[in-house]
Symmetry: C2
Subunit: 204 residues, 2 copies
DNA sequence: CCATTTAAGTATCGAACGACACATAATTGC
DNA sequence: GCAATTATGTGTCGTTCGATACTTAAATGG
């Protein structure tokens, strides 16, 4: 059903995707309104009418990023029967994404607001909240492994989730510093070696 | 020997240390000139006279940070006879520093310029260069371990250095997100478990 | 046809940014 | 004492920041 009034002339989804890539690459404060409007091909007036404010646009961009990332992560975590293979798949698929030449390097949630002005603390906090959520997802998959018996009941899933998330976050820095896809996977090789040692009686 | 002209009224080293902490906490672009001058207790004129520019001040601040950090890292890496214990000490001492309540959380070199405007790409590149250097130091210690026989000659020291540096970088994000000192060490526990698996015939 | 609604374009707002011109103050060397 | 040198304080430069007021354009509904 067509809405009243003059129809929008630009593709909102396409504009949002462009904004996402800019924020992903340059971060929240590193992406100016003028860079946004130039790249999106709209005026600041249209941007504010369609997205509300720079911060609201950023949050929508993060949601768009997460919608794709969560889809990938959920598939990786649920495709394999054991927690070990699930976590390894999560790491490897993210490593592929982080080094994909067609998108900015590293993870937007990790890199886009690590250092901001005090005025934009809320932006930093929003991404920190996203990271907490990622941690919860990883830990939930480990807990499932314990429940299903492929991880020993004594497993410290909190510490284990923290470890693999630390590796994942570190990979974002490596990716930004230009590491190759192969180098990223070599790092994951070593991270996975810790698994058996941590869960000596694990079957996964 | 006293220099000619009117003597400086503020303590340059103290002012630099204050600038370092601000840049450490808020990042390069997140720290404005006005925040710097207010905190340092000097005017912008004095700042420019003493340090040249905001970027030059930042570089001096990073050098100050690195001078302390390198001292700690070098001591950690050389205090123990085996590469394993040296790397573990490096990780643990950095974890303590990252969670020290008397200083900003995480590593300045990792966090202070992850996202910047294109105009300040040189600042980002400078920190990336510092990280490359840290990698070289870690790898050199591993190579020494191979040379001294506590690591097997087949050890892939490049990949191993990349792995432990990834953990170290990831720890900066964890620290920024508020993880406890104990949680950081628990992460390192797991990172070290990968060691034996990587170097099955290592004696360290 | 005309009121209503929504978007686009122009032009600009006040604030903050990094940086500096200029005049003044305090020291050294002769 | 006086020139030379260096630091300080006041004030402000031009730019860019995020955000809007206002006008004009294009659609719908009666």
């Amino acid at each position: 059903m067509p809405r009243r009034g003059r129809p929008r002339r630009f593709d909102r989804d396409r504009a949002l995707r462009i904004a996402m890539e800019l924020f992903w690459e340059h971060g929240y404060e590193g992406t100016s309104l003028s860079l946004l409007t130039e790249s999106m091909g709209i005026t600041s007036t249209s941007l504010y009418a369609a997205f509300g404010s720079k911060e609201e646009l950023f949050r929508e961009a993060v949601e768009l990023y997460n919608s794709a990332d969560d889809l990938m992560s959920d598939r990786a975590l649920n495709r394999y029967p054991t927690a070990k293979r699930a976590i390894e798949a999560l790491l490897r698929e993210n490593a592929d994404a982080y080094t994909d030449p067609s998108t900015p390097r590293g993870c937007m949630v990790v890199l886009a607001a690590t250092n901001v002005t005090t005025a934009n603390k809320s932006v930093h906090d929003y991404l920190a909240h996203c990271r907490k959520n990622d941690y919860a997802v990883v830990r939930a998959r480990l807990n499932r492994g314990v429940a299903e018996g492929d991880l020993p009941p004594t497993t410290d899933t909190a510490a284990m989730a923290a470890f693999y998330l630390t590796v994942l976050h570190g990979l974002s820095i490596q990716a930004r510093d230009g590491c190759s896809n192969a180098a990223a996977h070599a790092i994951i090789d070593r991270a996975m070696l810790a698994w058996e040692a941590t869960c000596a009686n694990g079957s996964g």
